[in-house]
Symmetry: C2
Subunit: 194 residues, 2 copies
């Protein structure tokens, strides 16, 4: 009888666990190969969406340059753990993983007549990882072409100096993340000069 009750209790308490199993219950901390390559964050599309850009560039348009590069969207995702911590503190915790997905922009398909939509073609996947023990400067960038583990981008690359100089919060571009910006302002983690 007691065991039956225990089983009943187990089911009663366990049942909600199954119905609320989160989409991102797994540990989304960065994982590396033995050679130090970052494993691709394969489930990033189920992470927390931060923003999208359309044809964004930090460089001035070149007057003589051909306007030939295809239109694209940049979608930014944060691991759920990092996002939750940011909400509480206004900055990123150790083991934060941010993903920038670059996706082709289509137009004039189906009933769409103006503007652009996102297509199935992914141009690139760039990942920004905070791992204090591992990286000088706390953060590192990785660029993926597929799902294969990626080598760290060398620290001489422009992305590091640009993020360091212009990132509004902890070398990240929170100035372009509309739902995080007010949190950083409220928590006073937002650099005004950027």
């Amino acid at each position: 009888m007691k065991q039956a009750w225990m089983l009943g209790a187990a089911i009663a308490f366990a049942a909600p666990l199954f119905t609320v199993v989160p989409l991102a219950a797994a540990d989304n901390a960065p994982r590396y190969t033995e050679e130090g390559r970052l494993q691709a964050p394969i489930n990033y599309r189920e992470w927390i969406y931060l923003t999208s850009g359309f044809n964004m560039s930090y460089a001035e348009a070149q007057p003589g340059a051909a306007a030939g590069s295809p239109s694209r969207f940049d979608n930014v995702f944060a691991s759920p753990e990092a996002y939750r911590s940011f909400q509480q503190t206004g900055t990123w915790p150790d083991k934060t993983v941010l993903v920038l997905e670059v996706r082709a922009a289509g137009s004039n398909a189906s009933i769409n007549k103006q503007g652009h939509f996102q297509t199935g073609e992914r141009f690139a996947l760039e990942v920004h990882v905070k791992d204090v023990e591992r990286f000088p400067g706390d953060w590192a960038f990785f660029g993926f072409t597929g799902d294969e583990p990626a080598k760290m981008i060398a620290m001489t690359a422009q992305c590091y100096s640009c993020h360091l100089q212009h990132g509004a919060v902890d070398t990240t571009f929170v100035q372009f993340y509309p739902t995080l910006l007010p949190i950083a302002e409220a928590k006073q983690t937002f650099r005004s000069r950027r």
Copy 2:
């Protein structure tokens, strides 16, 4: 003693609930007021992101029309439960909630020199709900201006006929959702004529 054990069991089984509490643990089924207004899905930014559009329109550009309307992004989110079911079946379950967030596009701020980014200004929030018992045609649209409950948009509105005619899957525009489109094709739930 028995009560102490019960309490212990409660804590033992409840504790994991707190440590794995997902970002979207809540039941994200639609909720209505007594008058039939839909409660705003306030945590939709923690749902599953499907896609964004930039200045999309299903109407032809009018040659004489002033190009004065501000640039905007449309971000689409699905409730986690609906998304998970779609992955398994290629279509939407009952109680699906889809959110279209219309957000202002900014340019030339911080270090951005070309293209557009999303700003803190939300122009509109439109919600598409599947509730078979409640709505003729299974689905209904709601438009929110703030977090107040919203009245159902009348079924004579163009959104209903357009989605019915052109929606690739169950009156929804899966043709513009890059990660769901291949699932619908694989599950053969995708209408080819749209």
